[in-house]
């Protein structure tokens, strides 16, 4: 075989258990010619003394290990320069011997999953939020970054040991920040959470929720550590995401906490339709903002709340809290029924129609681009949900705890409407009518009080003045 490149002579493996050998004699010196299989050197090992044949023909260009030295099996002992087939002429042997081909290193261990993004999946227009808009991770105080890490459902999987620790300490693992693959809560995460006192915090939060006389609700069982049971033909299964778990907990808790009552009122939007038609072009051209009906309703609601502080209030322990500001939550549906979130417009009482329209549009954009930060979804004092985009004319939303009420807006529909003309005669006209609901916590807000709020809101909307400045 042609040996254009240099060939290494290595310490051979002379027996199964032999790990090293000693060179007793070199039969050739540097610069001498050697033929393949000609004895090149003698070695001595634990088991045998033997001669080592040359692995190739050529010039012995370099001896690296001298007589008397002991080296491990596989150590390079010498180098033989190459010759052409037939042995005419010798290579100079000066070239570096090619490194023996090593199998490629296996890829380093799988990298940790990329940090999960903010949880807000793509959001639809606020105007299309479903009526169950009341829940939001926003309402949770932040013991855990509930708004993180849902990619790959890593967070939804609870390992056996985490399930056990969760049940021993009464911790909801879905509220623990996960550092495992895909945001999974690891044993270390939940132990750190327990040690930092998070478990007690969770329990304290849970405590005031239970109505005093009602039989205590059984604690939520720890998520089953085993896969769901057998499926019937045609059934499919998917894991519960952290957001879905949060919504489920929140919805249930709100129903268990507040005394939900819904009142509705019909509002004639004739004037607002006209005002909006006049403003739309100007707002679009000057500010790039669409004055939506939701913006009009939001503006009228914020102004009306000023006169009805309990609707914008909260039952906090043994106290009733009211405010001189409105942090207005707008329920936003995430794509394809994957959940909902209630971003908050802070100090909405200080905004005019343009400000509110712009704020709603910005929040929708942030939600759509997954740019909401925890602050954007916390601290709401009152919420609006707008499930009317699909034509529903009525609903009974769930209150976004710990708030006291939620306003529902529905489809704007042209109706035959009975009016009085200037002579006092009844006439039937075609008018754009919207059903507006207020779902309120009857513990704090009385029915008549809610009725007066709705009446005042209707007066404001039907008698809209100016551009809403």
């Amino acid at each position: 075989m042609a040996t254009e490149t240099a060939v290494d002579v290595v310490m051979p493996q002379m027996g199964v258990s032999v790990s090293e050998g000693t060179i007793t004699r070199w039969m050739k010196q540097e610069g001498e010619q050697v033929e393949a299989d000609e004895t090149l050197l003698e070695i001595s090992t634990d088991k045998v003394d033997t001669e080592v044949p040359s692995p190739a023909s050529g010039t012995l260009t370099q001896i690296l290990v001298q007589e008397g030295e002991t080296v491990p099996v596989g150590t390079k002992l010498a180098q033989i320069g190459g010759t052409e087939i037939g042995g005419t002429g010798t290579g100079d042997g000066a070239g570096e011997a090619p490194a023996p081909a090593e199998p490629p290193e296996p890829a380093p261990g799988t990298e940790a999953a990329a940090p999960a993004e903010q949880q807000t999946a793509q959001a639809s227009e606020p105007a299309a939020a479903p009526e169950t808009a009341a829940a939001a991770p926003a309402a949770e105080p932040p013991p855990a970054r509930a708004s993180e890490a849902v990619s790959g459902n890593g967070k939804a999987f609870v390992s056996p040991v985490v399930a056990r620790i969760a049940s021993e300490h009464g911790v909801d693992p879905s509220r623990v920040a996960g550092t495992g693959r895909g945001g999974r809560v690891t044993k270390k995460d939940i132990l750190a959470f327990v040690e930092s006192g998070g478990a007690q915090q969770q329990q304290q939060q849970a405590a005031p929720q239970a109505p005093a006389q009602a039989p205590a609700a059984p604690p939520r069982p720890a998520p089953a550590p085993v896969a769901p049971g057998e499926l019937l033909p045609g059934e499919q299964v998917e894991p519960i995401t952290a957001m879905r778990r949060g919504i489920a907990d929140h919805m249930r808790r709100s129903i268990d906490t507040a005394a939900h009552v819904t009142s509705a009122i019909e509002v004639d939007f004739t004037r607002i339709v006209a005002v909006r038609a006049g403003l739309k072009k100007e707002y679009q051209a000057a500010y790039g903002v669409n004055p939506t009906y939701l913006a009009f309703v939001a503006k009228a609601t914020v102004d009306t709340l000023r006169d009805f502080p309990y609707v914008n209030g909260e039952m906090r322990g043994d106290s009733i809290v009211t405010r001189n500001f409105v942090n207005l939550g707008i329920a936003v549906e995430l794509q394809e029924g994957k959940g909902l979130i209630v971003p908050v417009i802070r100090n909405a009482e200080a905004m005019n129609l343009l400000g509110l329209a712009r704020a709603i549009s910005e929040l929708a954009g942030k939600a759509r681009n997954k740019q909401l930060v925890p602050d954007d979804v916390q601290g709401g004092t009152f919420s609006i949900t707008n499930p009317g985009g699909y034509g529903t004319f009525h609903g009974t939303p769930v209150i976004n705890q710990p708030q006291s009420a939620i306003l529902g807006t529905y489809a704007l529909v042209k109706r035959p409407w009975v009016l009085e003309d200037e002579l006092g005669n009844d006439v039937i006209a075609i008018r754009p009518i919207m059903n507006v609901t207020l779902t309120y916590d009857h513990r704090l807000v009385d029915g008549a009080y809610a009725g007066r709020f709705l009446f005042a809101l209707r007066e404001r909307l039907e008698g809209w003045e100016g551009d809403g400045g």
Binding site: S159, P160, T186, P225
Partner: protein
């Protein structure tokens, strides 16, 4: 204490017991004049004579059968297979007669079969196997797989004392590579007790034999990444120290079972199943196995390297568990 090799520790144990107990004798192919295929009994025939260090014909069934009979008659035979692979020729005597005798007739069978096992030197399919799981499956046999010189000596003496047939799997790759200080006096290491080779908090490796050292290399590499690895050296595969394994699983909640034997039906499967069955509520990750693929051991050095679990394979496996 003198620092001696794994192989010298085995010699030391045999010499100690030959000197101490007249019932002990060695038998095997080339154990006498030649001193054994790996020179474990070099010089023994000169010291103890040809009737206590017996050169046997090339007939493993005769060696194992002869030992079984001698043990039943009160002797303490120690047989050497030149390679563990060759024990298959003695299967019937070992499995049908020696393993069952105590249950059939109440007779103890205090014999030891030494089995040089394991690969890593291009020995190919007939000189590299780790057949411990085949024998761990046979009730009545004990299987010992020491990883250190100290254990090799203490466990071999325990094996010779034991009233049951004991298979002593000594790893060839360790013979002259592993050195450690070993007490010169006689001592025993209990069969069935694991040893914590390295204490750690994040991931447990359950292994034995030469893989203890491969795992140790991997653990050292991961230490700089802040991953703390615990290595449990089983020392004996049958009986195996279930309590120690479950305790380590409870501590770290992540378990890697590692062996040089092939994967399917390897003894690691028994360990993984037991951890899943009895330690389920302690687990924070699936139990992972690293083992050789289900093929005969290849001759080719690159293929053999791909076959036997390497440090990089274990690093990758441990990292995967740590990040789970």
């Amino acid at each position: 204490m003198a620092e001696i090799t794994y192989l010298q520790a085995i010699s030391d144990a045999l010499r100690t017991e030959l000197r101490r107990d007249q019932r002990v004798f060695l038998i095997g192919e080339d154990v006498g004049v030649y001193g054994g295929a790996f020179k474990v009994s070099l010089g023994f025939q000169e010291e103890f004579g040809p009737w206590r260090v017996i050169d046997a014909p090339l007939a493993e069934s005769a060696i194992v059968g002869g030992c079984t009979g001698a043990a039943m008659m009160g002797m303490r035979p120690v047989a050497e297979m030149q390679f563990a692979d060759f024990i298959s020729c003695g299967w019937d005597q070992l499995v049908t007669v020696a393993a069952k005798q105590r249950w059939r007739a109440g007779t103890p069978v205090p014999m030891v079969v030494r089995l040089p096992s394991g690969g890593g030197f291009s020995g190919g399919p007939f000189h590299s196997q780790n057949p411990e799981s085949s024998f761990a499956h046979i009730p009545g046999l004990k299987c010992v797989c020491p990883a250190t010189p100290e254990d090799a000596k203490g466990l071999l003496i325990s094996a010779i004392e034991d009233p049951s047939p004991v298979l002593f799997f000594e790893h060839k790759h360790l013979y002259r590579r592993i050195k450690a200080e070993v007490p010169e006096e006689r001592y025993t290491t209990p069969i069935g007790k694991a040893r914590t080779h390295r204490a750690g908090d994040d991931v447990s490796v359950i292994t034995w034999g030469a893989m203890v050292h491969t795992a140790d290399e991997a653990a050292k590499q991961l230490e700089s990444d802040g991953v703390s690895v615990e290595i449990v050296d089983l020392r004996t595969v049958m009986p195996w120290d279930k309590a120690a394994v479950l305790e380590s699983a409870r501590k770290t909640s992540k378990v890697l079972v590692l062996h040089e034997d092939t994967r399917t039906g390897g003894f690691g499967a028994e360990i993984a199943a037991t951890v899943a069955e009895e330690g389920f509520e302690d687990l924070d990750a699936p139990v992972k196995r690293i083992a050789a693929p289900d093929t005969p051991v290849p001759f080719s050095p690159p293929l053999e390297k791909a076959f036997i679990p390497q440090v990089e394979d274990i690093v990758a496996g441990l990292r995967e568990l740590a990040e789970y």
